[in-house]
Amino acid sequence: MKHDLPPGRGKPMRLLALLAFALLGVLVAGLMGLMPGDLIPRESGARTAMDFFQGALRPALQHNNWVPPGAPSLFEAIAAATQRTILIAFAALGLALVFALPLAFLGAECTWKGNTSLLARWVPKSTRLGIALLRSVHEYLLALLFLAAIGLSPGAGVLALALPATGILAKIFGELLDEAQTHPFRAMENLGATRATALLFGTLPRALPDLAAYTFYRLECALRGSFILGFFGFPTLGLGLRLAFEEGDYPTVWTYLYALIALMVIFELSSAAMRRRLRS
């Protein structure tokens, strides 16, 4: 019966590897001065935590602090910030999509298969390198750089979210295009269609449901990113949360948190529904 088992590739090595993995974690934690004792909040921290969690039960329904007369009410402010959060996410993803699709085709294997020219050897490689570079800078770091470069405007936030999103979308799109069914593509090529036509009308429609599903998932990520951009001064939900937190106004913090949770739940449910419909 022994030969029926999958070839055992050194099972004891696995245990050793696991042990080494755990040891590495402990070692690095020790090097960084991470002691288990510091996981317990000190007295002041515990008080902050208590106040914070008490805020969960009584979220603010109006401004707790002085606001200039004529300022929008808390709910109006949150609604406006929510709208901007959503719009920044959509603007960024729309921009990313425009650039990601051509990049995906340039980097995909299926575009260049059977083509032995010099172009075919270097274009996909350099495209993939470019995609990796786009992805390598975190969107919040980019946001800070853009703040310095073009000043505080929602546009800077949109660009910061869009660049890494372009990278990741292009990467996944390329892989999805490569995995798509090739029958229509081959049929069209055999009938004499050019490579571009066959890709655009044979391969792309096959991959489209998957591309759309992934885009919807990225939309959730963009939404989270757009929320966090507020921490750096962009006018999204995060801005209000941060300001309230720094004033120790935890009930208001919780109002913002509930707004975020509601937004995320609504988005996740609708994007899950959309994805289910895409697959059937």
């Binding site: 690095v28 960084m32 991470l34 510091d38 000190r42 901007r84 959509f90 990796a132 770091l141 996740e268």
Partner: protein, 326 residues
């Protein structure tokens, strides 16, 4: 003039072509939102191309980005090198190492926790859960491991409702928990925890570990549910309990894929670790915020480059490991 048979056939094909309501509806809604975001006055995006923005940009590249020391003595490339080396030696290298450390500790905690929890969250008998054969095929001949896992984390193959909900409440709670920790931005978690915990790197580590633990938990659960049922069944037939079956049949089958998934998350972990320092912990993000407070744009830029290079390096490492595992 009556239509020719060819025209008829074309018309018929056109009528019967597959149309996806979800695709059309989703695409339309998406396009509407994007167009509204770009062309309505609410975000003032047209202002990106305004004159003063362009001036800002020009000043940024010609003045702001040049280090003070280089500006002062007008030294060319050599001055740039000296400055960069100084910043690197002084703090940037240490911060890069700390960032990597953050990611390593976080991924160890996340993978360990996820492995334990996923063992409980996985539905017990994989053969009876009605996993569609397509999904099983997908699992067996995973075309490209990384894209597969990245999309799995998108929930593309998990939201299927055809599975029988035969799980006890514990598994259901765990799976809900995985989803919850996944959907909260880790930066927010770190920010909230930094206010309550003593001043160490723990808030960043915990935030990263929680977020990635949620994602890995779900991916591990799916992996465990999708392993071939044979070994587990034969263990059960010889009297093994659920613990023994999971430990001795399911995990050995799932091990390689779990390692690949962990490395895939590690890369993302490093990327997120570069910014988590912004909540006040020594790492690249912390130095970026500090340099920003000093309005030292060139240092900010150099630090961002440092972050990018460790992300690229870990990307390379993770890709190599996963290729070897395949």
């Amino acid at each position: 003039m009556s239509p020719s048979p060819l025209d008829k056939r074309i018309a018929e094909l056109r009528r019967t072509r597959s149309r996806s309501l979800g695709l059309r509806l989703g695409g339309t809604i998406f396009a509407c939102f994007v167009l509204y975001a770009w062309f309505s006055p609410s975000l003032e995006l047209h202002n990106l191309f305004a004159e003063d923005r362009r001036e800002n940009l020009q000043r940024f590249f010609t003045v702001d980005l040049v280090p003070l020391s280089v500006q002062r003595d007008g030294s060319g490339l050599l001055g740039w090198f000296a400055w960069a080396l100084g910043v690197l030696q002084d703090r940037a290298l240490l911060a890069s190492a700390q960032t990597l450390g953050l990611a390593i500790v976080a991924i160890v905690i996340a993978a360990g926790g996820a492995a334990i929890l996923a063992s409980f969250a996985a539905r017990e008998d994989p053969s009876s859960t009605g996993i569609s054969s397509r999904e099983k095929d997908n699992f067996c001949e995973v075309p490209t491991e990384d894209s597969q896992s990245q999309r799995a984390d998108a929930g593309a193959c998990s939201t299927d409702t055809s599975r029988k909900a035969s799980s006890p409440w514990l598994g259901r709670c765990l799976r809900l928990g995985f989803g919850l920790t996944r959907s909260l931005p880790e930066y927010l978690l770190a920010f909230l925890m930094a206010a309550t915990l003593p001043h160490t790197a723990w808030p960043a580590v915990l935030a990263l570990a929680l977020h990635n633990g949620g994602i890995l938990g779900r991916l591990f659960t799916e992996t465990l549910e999708n392993v071939p049922a044979g070994p587990g069944r034969s263990l059960q037939a010889s009297g093994a309990g659920p613990v023994q079956t999971t430990l001795l049949a399911a995990w050995p089958e799932a091990f390689t894929r779990a390692v690949a998934l962990t490395f895939y998350r590690f890369e993302t972990c490093v990327r997120d670790a570069t910014v988590l320092g912004m909540v006040g912990i020594g790492s690249i993000g912390y130095l970026v915020v500090e340099a920003r407070a000093r309005q030292d744009v060139p240092e900010q830029f150099l630090l961002v480059l440092c972050g990018a290079s460790i992300v690229l390096a870990s990307d390379l490492l993770s890709r190599m490991v996963r290729r070897r595992l395949r």
